[in-house]
Subunit: 224 residues, 2 copies
């Protein structure tokens, strides 16, 4: 077990589409991972499915509150409709932690881009200055996260935060999980990343695929 020095990660609302894939990738490289849910039974079912499917992986299951308290880094993967209530209920449990807000704002039935403020800005306002909010993984492709565990994914993650050291920790977390990750500005910039879901839906529809993705290029320093 080489995971002794790695921080514990809680995936809050981790029984949906996005959470289990992220849990798997981090658990597979040695992070202690807890699946959190409002209902312990749902968390246990998701954790059991992951542990059964993957020999090398052991994730725990808890209710969201205890999961948050036990973790150093909490990743919120609830749907938009549950976002505010989840944060209000977990405010005390999240103090002193990094909260990674992965909330997808776009409704597939009415896929128009969201208006500011960003979900992550709303989270920061609800949680107060004692929680280090970082926006990331809003567009991470749920269907590919579970493949090629331990290997690289062809995915760019745009990380937005007002707290730069917290952003750097999340960038490292994404990289450890096999994704490229870049600092893309403060919490307000996250509204653009949330809106990219609308662009990806349109690209997928127009080009008849499910794999449209947005990547970053041009970061190499060039002579003169």
């Amino acid at each position: 077990m080489s995971s002794r020095s790695l921080p514990t990660i809680a995936i809050l609302g981790g029984t949906g589409k996005e959470g289990p894939g992220l849990a798997l990738r981090w658990a597979s490289v040695g992070y202690p991972v807890i699946i959190g849910s409002r209902q312990l039974e749902k968390a246990q079912a998701t954790a059991a499915a992951l542990n059964t499917a993957q020999d090398q992986v052991t994730v725990q299951a808890m209710e969201n509150g205890p999961a948050a308290r036990q973790a150093a880094i909490c990743v919120l993967t609830v749907v938009q409709a549950a976002h505010q209530a989840a944060l209000e209920g977990l405010k005390a449990d999240l103090q002193g932690k990094i909260l990674v807000d992965a909330t997808a704002r776009v409704d597939f039935r009415d896929p128009r881009p969201p208006a500011p403020p960003s979900a992550a800005r709303i989270a920061q306002e609800i949680l107060g200055p004692g929680v280090r909010v970082v926006a990331a993984f809003q567009n991470a492709p749920a269907h590919t996260l579970k493949k090629n565990l331990g290997g690289a994914l062809d995915t760019d993650v745009l990380v937005c935060a007002d707290d730069l050291p917290a952003a750097d920790q999340v960038i490292q977390l994404a990289q450890t999980a096999g994704m490229r990750a870049y600092y893309a500005g403060g919490l307000d910039n996250a509204i653009v990343v949330e809106g990219l879901t609308s662009i990806l839906i349109s690209l997928n529809q127009r080009y008849g695929v499910k794999t449209a993705s947005i990547g970053v290029t041009g970061l190499e320093k060039q002579a003169a």
Copy 2:
């Protein structure tokens, strides 16, 4: 002259940073191009500079109104502060045309993402249903447009429009100018593309470059 069958393109407000580069690229592949400005003298100065710098290129100069009336496709490259007044002044001249709105919404001194509606949606509302509004080129890199004329640029253009045939014409126009271009949804989606400027500014600052760019991947159809 093989340009006889190509539509005339007017670059309205074409004396700024973005307009001349686009004008050059289209003129260099044979499109009749007119630089438009509120002041004829400014349009003439920009056109003269382009025609002097490039042997093979001849662009015309007119005031915005006559330029719009003579063109089939008009590309608006004004700054955000001039956007509404320019459209109101050109409403009559633009009827029946394609209006490509390239307005950059983000202010470099306060680079927060804009809120809906998108510039292109505002344009459609001002101009009415007789003008086919398409959003594109908001992030096209002004400094690279003038290089490698006739060759390919490593640039992806996200094209948003409610009018699909108009979008397809603009996609073709971008491709002819050496850029990759993709249909990225309706006019409301353009707010995300406008907001990408905020992301690019942050990426450039963080990574110490001026060349950050956003690209599309994953559009290849895959087996199963």
